[in-house]
Symmetry: C2
Subunit: 469 residues, 2 copies
């Protein structure tokens, strides 16, 4: 299997490069484009969640339950299905160099970017079957397009991955790949039929689709254990096995994660630019023309912005140190990474919540608690990646961070720092919220002070991190 790094070696070499490698070079850039597109579409769907208007009067917990649940569901479904599409994409095996394939591939990308809209419809009208039908239609069309690409490529073997090109049983590969590609569209076909009869079942089927590879793999494992017979696929057949330890290109996992972190960091400033520029007439009337006085109103928001940017930056840094010492990425680690990223993508929501309720009593504490939960899970899944890597440390970890390695304990400290701090803050706010009514009577301005302390935590972590390595 050719990793992007290997492909990237080829270009720009001068005279000889184009003829031999223009195919892979062209294909490599199409992959980079689709990687960027997929990481953006996965993350950007948090915006509708974050832009949900909260009412200051009602309890946050209730408004969250009522208003946000559907939108958060849309976000999580989008994130999962899009990363499944990213991991299972046809491009692993086919070199897309002709114009026809390129256009078909872009049509697939267009359908993928359309999926979030079908989720929105499903979430807003859960009892309407139109959303399900649209989703299933998109997936089925994608399945057909991908099959056409595969059949076309196998009829012109120079379009195939080198490993398949030199292999003898190409027909076996073709059938295996087609089977894997058509599995999901066929599930969707049944889901769309069931939607006319009993639409709840369709949702169950769609949920199964996301975890299909893992379910089918564990079913097979159980059957083999029960019968005692071990059925082995050819060793070179490492595409689409969905074994938890199937290798996944480390470079591509890193590139995808970088995209997600970068977007999350950028979404924050977008909100600042859209919402926190005061109106000139308001400045003239309410603040007597003093722009500085008008901007002081937004003080907590700037603070929240810098705090959130620092949080994203430091989470990225932990991720980066972890992957610097990981030598082999497996599919299971990729799944854990996806979960971690899904929570990182939730950070703009946390940012929105913490500055939405600056001086309020309980809402604000609960907003901080939600932020803590998001940061905790983002960190704990990073830690889980490391734990999984430790189980097979000879293969997947650098000697420095193995048991007894000279940086083992530092790495553990780095990875557990965020979850611990988030957990600590969470319980602190739980205790504080018990005294909320008492505090409200005696010192009503206290909560605002505490936001600053919480944001300050992010900054104080920097020197500690610097001390760690």
């Amino acid at each position: 299997k050719m990793t992007p790094a290997e492909v990237a070696v080829n270009p720009a070499g001068g005279e000889m490069s184009l003829l031999g490698h223009s195919g892979t070079q062209s294909s490599h850039r199409l992959l980079a484009y689709s990687d960027a597109l997929i990481s953006i579409i996965a993350t950007v769907m948090i915006l509708p969640v974050a832009h949900t208007k909260m009412e200051n009067n009602e309890e946050l917990r209730e408004s969250v339950q009522l208003l946000l649940t559907t939108k958060i569901a849309v976000y999580l479904m989008t994130f999962l299905i899009v990363t499944v599409a990213w991991a299972a994409h046809i491009r692993w095996v086919i070199i897309i160099s002709s114009i026809l394939l390129s256009v078909l591939f872009q049509a697939c990308m267009m359908l993928i970017t359309f999926l979030p809209y079908t989720f929105s419809l499903m979430a807003t009208f859960p009892e309407h079957i139109l959303g399900i039908l649209l989703f299933c239609g998109c997936v089925m069309v994608m399945g057909v397009i991908q099959s056409v690409i595969v059949l076309y490529a196998f009829s012109r073997p120079f379009l195939l991955n080198e490993q398949i090109q030199i292999s003898e049983n190409q027909t076996y590969y073709k059938h295996h790949i087609l089977k894997v590609i058509m599995r999901v569209p066929i599930m969707c076909f049944f889901a769309s039929i069931f939607s006319f009869i009993f639409f709840q079942l369709s949702y169950v089927l769609l949920a199964i689709v996301i975890f299909l590879p893992y379910i089918s793999r564990s079913l097979k494992w159980c059957r083999n254990k029960a019968i005692g017979q071990v059925e082995e696929t050819p060793d070179s057949m490492l595409f689409y096995t969905y074994l938890p330890n199937e290798p996944l290109s480390k470079d591509r996992v890193e590139a995808f994660s970088d995209g997600v972190y970068a977007i999350v960091a950028t979404l924050l400033i977008l909100d600042i630019c859209e919402d926190n520029v005061p109106d000139p007439t308001v400045v003239q009337k309410q603040f007597g023309g003093s722009l500085i006085a008008a901007l002081q109103v937004y003080g907590p928001e700037y603070l929240a912005y810098f705090g959130s940017f620092a949080t994203v930056g430091l989470l990225w840094f932990v991720h980066h140190s972890l992957f610097l010492h990981v030598t082999k990425t497996t599919r299971f680690m990729g799944l854990l990474n996806t979960f971690s990223l899904a929570f990182v993508g939730g950070l703009p929501l946390a940012y929105q919540l913490t500055h939405e309720f600056p001086h309020n009593s309980r809402n604000e504490l609960e907003a901080i608690q939600i932020s803590c939960v998001i940061i905790f899970f983002a960190g704990i899944f990073q830690l889980a990646i490391w734990v999984v890597a430790l189980y097979n440390e000879q293969e997947s970890l650098h000697p420095y961070v193995r048991y007894g390695g000279r940086e083992h304990i530092f790495m553990l400290a780095k990875l557990s720092l965020y979850p611990c701090v988030a957990l600590g803050t969470f319980f602190l706010t739980c205790i504080l919220s018990k005294f909320t009514l008492l505090r409200l009577v005696f010192c009503p301005d206290r909560p605002d002070h505490r936001v600053i302390v919480e944001e300050g935590d992010d900054e104080t972590r920097v020197p500690f991190n610097a001390l760690v390595t």
Copy 2:
């Protein structure tokens, strides 16, 4: 100079890779993260422009002039300054591997993402000096941080680029790099001082900052021509010369462009998901519970979405075919590419405008004209890149597309297709708008029909493109 492609070769090799190359590997990923961040922040600032509410009643031309000019100025300034930061970034020469450097680098990134907000302040309050002061403050702090990084790296030579590491006159390099880095902050320092005296002058200074490298280079050229004396810098000193033919890493230009195209394609679906999901109560009341009837209202918007996605995809495809045949990228080509991308970034605005005025008389024609202008310039700058490459075809183009090459004429056709179609549509609408009043009297529904024709253009181009290669 080590290109990212060369750096990318190192990782994931197994046991031996980490010790020798962990520095470059770590640095490479930081660069990828900052590339993603910069391409996103440059593009995403089109959202406040596109989200500007238009009034259907007033004339589009006036509302554009009144409402949008400032926001478009903010967008363009952000795009230019951020790409300048991207191209002139310190990371070309220093391997950022220690935690301290990483934190400093991320602080720089945070300040870069904060710049759009200062632009927003400048555009909203042009006569207030606060925006200028904030901008200059950010740039000066960035200058100080970058100088600290450079001084730190030169005190530990293993952190330097290989080419400088083996060079003998490191002190010369250090002074040259520091001079280049501090040039912009010093300009900003003067701009902030002038802002207290005569703030218009500050804006002129800031405008000069963006084009500073090119201005200083052409001044030097003029001086040399006048005196007749040719002053040569050492040949290896190819960093930061800002010569128009200074090479620029082709991979990084491609990665940056991919990021911009991917975001533009994704912003469209974000708008669809946020605005075009009908409210359940509205569906119940106005459409008698029929979701399909409710969604038919959004018909033109879906069409505009697919049309815009196809436009972005095809522009990306043209860009991709062009860069596939370009073997060497220069700084001047990078500048033209930036201009092209700035117009591509304007496409969400075009999308917003074309579906904003579906059945109106003149507004809608003018919206189409604006779209044509945006597409025209996006395409014409791509063509310009090719023309520049042709001037030095031996070095920068593959034999196939040189004069007389077997794909020369096809490439010309591909590149000139979009500008020609846009220009044609523009003049067509100019002619049509003269008959607007006449048409309004006789057939008031005609304009809506024409939108579909205009969008249809995008689709009809696909087979033609397919025919070309």
